[in-house]
Amino acid sequence: MAAVEIRDLHKHFEGHRAVDGVDLSVEDGEFVVLLGPSGCGKTTLLRTIAGLEEPTSGEIRLGGRVLSRDVPPRARKIAMMFQSYALYPHRTVFGNIAFPLKALHTPRDEIEEKVRWAVRMFDIERYLDRYPRHLSGGERQRVALCRAVVREPQAFLLDEPLSNLDAKQRTTARDELKRFQEDVGITTVYVTHDQVEAMGLGDRIAVMNAGKVHQFGTPAEVYEHPADIFVATFIGLPPMNLLESIEALAPAGMLVGFRPEHFLPRSAFGEDEDVTTFRYHVRRVEYLGSERYLYGSLDAHEDPEKPIIARLPAMLRLEVEADRTHEFAVHSGQLRYFDEESGQRRDPPGAARGRADA
């Protein structure tokens, strides 16, 4: 086990900056998730750590040792699990899992012992003599995990390992994976573009876009205190509502944001709570069972392209009709402020409290 330190890492493909100055320190035994939209450079970053790609510049350290270009992948003691699992089709499950040990010239009985340990942990003992093509997606994924861990690597890299599973398998697999990682305590870097997965698994999340890390923090930090507009709108479903400079709330050049689940009818708050109220014209109500989504606009802020969304939990039994204007409110502490130019989060302006539409 070891910590992973990444300093100002760049990886360019013919001028295209796939990884564009990434700093990241993953602590020993930590589970870090790289989260970002498709094409933002997650896989490239992972492959560079693994040594499958040579960095254009920058430094990667594993357990204090610099992984320069003359440390080949095999000498890095890093295990990687591929999105497609990349099992060896001509080898049985046993042959697949034993392969990394054979490459290390492990004695035969030790191989046997370690493979048994791994398959018992992932509950695939029955399949040892099967070929990968006779396994289901979930079983293949577990074989790939076994193959990655038998070698007891210093760090564990996973590239969207659950993306080939169906929704139900994914929940179980996520649970298994997290439990396994906590048991073994391997430093793990996990790539996904599914934020539910990221929030559920990660000790910390690195939110990436266009080759850069926009924020690196715990799931709660990333969700509650997004570092900039990208993180605010990328994380959360539906994303954070953003209002362009409302004078009463913020000075010009600032955006105000709040999460849909914090945007509730005024009557849901106590009389003396510190809230900011809005006149909210509801255009459409979506009933989703466990909650309701409202789509509408604010009197003070009309933009049909970007509706303001409210997310009412099923507990809140208040009647909300479409095509009406209602009084809605947000806890003033839940308002987030962003610089319009740079997109960076700003401290709340002290004076701007009260009614937005007064």
Binding site: R74, H90, R151
Partner: protein, 308 residues
């Protein structure tokens, strides 16, 4: 609601191209005809001839049963030719597979001058075989052999090698020329096969700590096996049935020691006018090729399904 376009007009009647069963027959007919006329009839003729005492240039013949086969089997020259055919065919395939895999490895990597090199690689294949063998006879010439001179200059040779004048060296020369002729084709096939190796599986092997040889033998070659099998199958047929290389290089000599089945069949059947014996000799190629073909196809099918 009105759509912005009208309904699609169907063609009024069935055209020729719609009648697929007829189309299939028409399109297969030339191939079937070709096989029947140019392969089937000569093949049946060869079998019939091998049971007769037909001689070239004469129309009278009678059936002699198995006597051609008996004569051939008791003939030491024939047995030598049969053995030579096996030796040359096997040796050539082994060398071609090794060389072609190595060459494909080189050509897979990016390097300066790759296009030119690829052109040179395909040259032996494009050169007419007679022309090429003439060049090789000079290379192996008893007085002017470049091979000998090179070995001498390199200090590896102290005596002198009479390439085409000794049975062993003659066979080696034949093997060298056959390998040279076949290996470009095999390289191209293996190169094509390499594109079918999934990159992520190879990278997984790299991450698992496998070095070059382990990757080659345990990961990449199993993927290449079906395609290499095809190359070997073609190679066996090409080498075992080829007459021109031996005929032009050694002419079967010295003392009939480097004959292969096709050259011996030609010598006995055409030059020696004994069509019956020639046909019998040539037919000995058949079970040999058949067994090879069936075996190879079986391996190909099995490895396609993924079990070793």
């Amino acid at each position: 609601m009105r759509l912005p376009f009208g309904p699609i007009e169907l063609p009024p009647r069935e055209t020729f191209a719609d009648r697929e069963s007829l189309l299939a027959k028409v399109m297969l007919a030339p191939a079937v005809l070709y096989v029947a006329v140019l392969v089937g009839i000569p093949f049946v003729l060869a079998i019939l001839l091998s049971f007769s005492n037909a001689r070239a240039g004469s129309l009278s013949f009678s059936w002699v049963g198995l006597s051609n086969y008996a004569a051939v089997l008791s003939d030491p020259t024939f047995r030598r030719a049969l053995l030579n055919t096996v030796i040359v065919t096997v040796a050539v395939q082994v060398l071609v597979v090794i060389l072609a895999t190595a060459a494909a490895m080189v050509f897979r990597a990016a390097f300066v001058g790759k296009r030119i090199m690829r052109f040179f690689l395909l040259l032996p294949w494009a050169v007419p075989i007679t022309l090429a063998v003439m060049a090789w006879t000079w290379i192996f010439d008893s007085t002017f052999s470049v091979v000998n001179w090179t070995l001498k200059v390199a200090g590896l040779l102290h005596g002198w090698l009479y390439w085409l004048g000794s049975p062993t060296l003659g066979l080696i020369a034949i093997i060298i020329v056959q390998v040279w002729r076949l290996f470009p084709f095999a390289t191209v096939i293996v190169l094509a096969g390499m594109t079918s190796i999934p990159q992520d599986v190879v990278e997984a092997a790299i991450m698992d700590g496998a070095g070059f040889w382990r990757r080659l033998f345990q990961i990449e070659l199993p993927f290449l096996l079906p395609v290499v099998t095809v190359a070997v199958l073609f190679g066996i047929v090409y080498t075992a049935t080829n007459m021109s290389v031996v005929y032009l290089l050694t002419g079967g000599g010295p003392a009939d020691s480097t004959h292969v089945l096709p050259t011996l069949a030609f010598q006995r059947g055409i030059e020696g006018l004994d069509l019956g014996q020639g046909a019998a000799i040539a037919l000995f190629l058949l079970p040999f090729l058949l067994v090879a073909a069936i075996g190879m196809l079986r391996i190909a099918r099995r490895s396609e399904m993924g079990s070793p």
